[in-house]
Amino acid sequence: MANQNSSPPIQLFESRRKVFPQKIDGTFRRLKWLVMIIALGVYYTLPWLRWDRGPNAPDQAVLLDLEAKRFYFFFIELWPNEIYFVTGLMIAGAVSLFLINALFGRVWCGYACPQTVWTDLFVHIERLVEGDRNKQIRNDRSAWSINKITKKFVKHSAWILVAILTGGAWVFYFADAPTLFWDLVTGQASYIAYIWIGLLTCTTYLLGGIAREQVCTYMCPWPRIQAAMTDEDALNVTYRYDRGEPRGAHKKGTSWDNRGDCVDCNLCVSVCPMGIDIRNGTQLECIHCALCIDACSSIMDKIGRPTGLIAYDTEANIERRINKEQTGWRPLRPRVLVYAAVLAVVFIAMGSAYFSRKSLDLAVQRDRNPNFVVLSDGSIRNGYTIKVSNKTLEDQHYFLTLEGLSGHGFSEVGSQDNDIEAIHLVVPGNELLSTRVYVAAPSSNVKSHSMPISFVLTEQWGGPKYRVNDFFKGPDL
């Protein structure tokens, strides 16, 4: 304890340092505005788009109808058993992320990620109410006053309004938008809709308004994965230290010899929504939003130096410039080709699966308890549950027949006809029909304890046959 007061205590924990990103204009800022308008535009208007599917189906272009268990996406209609398309879409999404990362780094994080888009929107609202960076800092440090309280109140109210609109738009994807909108306004919508709006209002407000860059730094797994997947040939937002160092203030009219182009103006730090210094190199917190490029370019223009001190560049190029070699970008690298190939395979598989999918599904489930029944004349009977999904919108007539068992009797529960050749099934449009059938055969025709048989479904007016293989069980011989 002797030197207890002599050495300064080390802080083991650092509390969050609030980030006040400064406003900046430039090429990439304008690109970000464009992406934001498109992203938010799609998000808010998509559920309102109509798509005519005929009289028996909803006319909403994109609809996740959980109650009817159907997913509509323009001309695509998916049933619950086709959930693998969603799996495929997720795999495609992940591989796209890898591919784009190998080419252009974290452009997803910088421009299109919902966290980025909404945070950007919230930051903009904050600036409109409280002013730019310096005013915000001053306002934050000042004592509480009517003015300060008013500003904070207006800001948070605006944020919550945006959050409510965000949550409100979400539920329109799950029900007919115009109907639900009217129900929501008149207070007649299901409480689940209100709960979801409330939940998403909270998450939007908390993640976009309060947590902001902490979501990317602490909550999102992608920066960690990305760090492991990037390489020296990926285009990242890069401070060209080979050109910038040694940095320092520069007096107008003095020489630029023997010094770097960085005038240490700190504007790249001020505009950063993540509160980092890009000149420390590529780092986990950096979402590569390129706002520091705009900031640096504006300064370079002012002091008459070429822009691009901070730019989309690769690690490899910096090395090459230091070694006085020709710079360039190598997009066709093995990893890029592999990702592209995987992506193509996923899309081809999904596309062929979708376009070769049938308008009908036939499933047969054999009774397993009991496996078979001995009838009074000694013949053997098996029971089956037949499920037919009609994926068209019209009623369909089918004939169900059996192959592979001689001398069998065939009957449907609830039907007046017994021992018929073919069972006539009428399946209403867009529905699943479930029925039980019995197959009986004289014991002399049951040649083994498990005989392969097939159920064949034929459309009444011809067309393809659907076949499902199953077994006919009998006693051990």
Binding site: Q4, S7, L12, V373, D377, G383, G414
Partner: protein, 292 residues
């Protein structure tokens, strides 16, 4: 303040330690994270609000009911009542309709099948098996052989009043114990068993006794099982010429049946289950494949 009570400060971090020391390693006494502490306070507050509005504290005879008067028992009771109300219409239709119509009306059949399936699992599966496949002495309800009839009405009567049950309208039959009561000699029973095995198409070892067996059958069995041995549903006498044997078709089992008699028992469900459930059960069993 004595020296012992003085807080020990860690020299590197400036944080108070717990004063514990393990081989020179000291434990820092960092404060709880603020988010944790506030969540904890919020939970305490929530608990107090909960005590006021919801049932919570047990008392000696009772419990605190809470301002909202919420009770899970009431919720379930209401849900059951709502369910019963929702089903009342279908149930009425089920009782009002001719059995023929029920079996061929898809909507009613579906309702009865679903209700019957549940009721079967709860009440019948114990003896007849979860797939209604039966067991020795417990009839297989999937086949087309019926002691008391396989029409919907006959099945319903069997369920309602039972077989050899306590209900006064119960169905009753009596297979005599020919051996135990010394109605037949051992030799005669053996002869009869051989004859019965032949009747149902089983291979037999002593064809020479068939004539004697036929006479014995006519004298002792035909009154109930019929001259053609096809049984009599009025008395619940089984058909002895088919492939289905409730207790077993081997020589030893048939001998035992004739020697000791059989007295299977099916409980009466009238009064224990409501009429709709019994009708649903009858439909369920009827559609297992053997219904007539």
């Amino acid at each position: 303040m004595s020296d012992k009570d003085k807080p020990v400060i860690d020299e590197y971090s400036g944080v108070e330690t717990t004063g514990h020391d393990w081989d020179g390693i000291q434990e820092l006494n960092n404060p709880l994270p603020r988010w944790w502490l506030w969540s904890f306070y919020a939970c305490i507050l929530w608990a107090i609000v909960y005590w006021i509005f919801m049932p919570s504290w047990p008392l000696v005879q009772d419990y605190t009911r809470g301002a909202l008067g919420y009770s899970q028992r009431t919720v379930v009771t209401n849900q059951l009542a709502a369910l019963a109300e929702a089903r009342a219409d279908l149930g009425k239709k089920l009782l009002a309709n001719e059995p023929e119509k029920i079996v061929h009306d898809k909507g009613l059949l579906e309702f009865a099948y679903a209700a019957g399936k549940t009721a079967f699992a709860d009440n019948c599966a114990g003896c007849h098996g979860s797939g209604a496949g039966g067991a020795k002495g417990y009839p297989n309800l999937n086949d087309d052989d019926w002691l008391w009839g396989g029409s919907l009405e006959a099945i319903e009567t069997s369920i309602r009043f039972g077989i050899r049950a306590t209900h006064e309208e119960t169905r009753f039959s009596d297979m005599p114990a020919f051996g135990v009561d010394e109605l037949l000699e051992k030799e005669e029973i053996s002869t009869l068993v051989t004859y019965l095995q032949g009747l149902s198409g089983q291979p037999i070892t002593e064809p020479e006794v068939l004539e004697a067996g036929k006479l014995l059958f006519a004298d002792n069995c035909a009154s109930c099982h019929g001259d053609d041995a096809k049984g009599n549903r009025e008395q619940g006498a089984p058909n002895l010429t088919d492939a289905i044997w409730l207790f077993g078709k081997d020589k030893k089992t048939i001998y035992e049946t004739v020697h000791t008699g059989r007295e299977g028992m099916m409980p009466a469900w009238d009064g224990r289950l409501d009429p709709v459930t019994i009708r649903a059960l009858a439909v369920f069993i009827h559609t297992r494949g053997g219904g007539e």
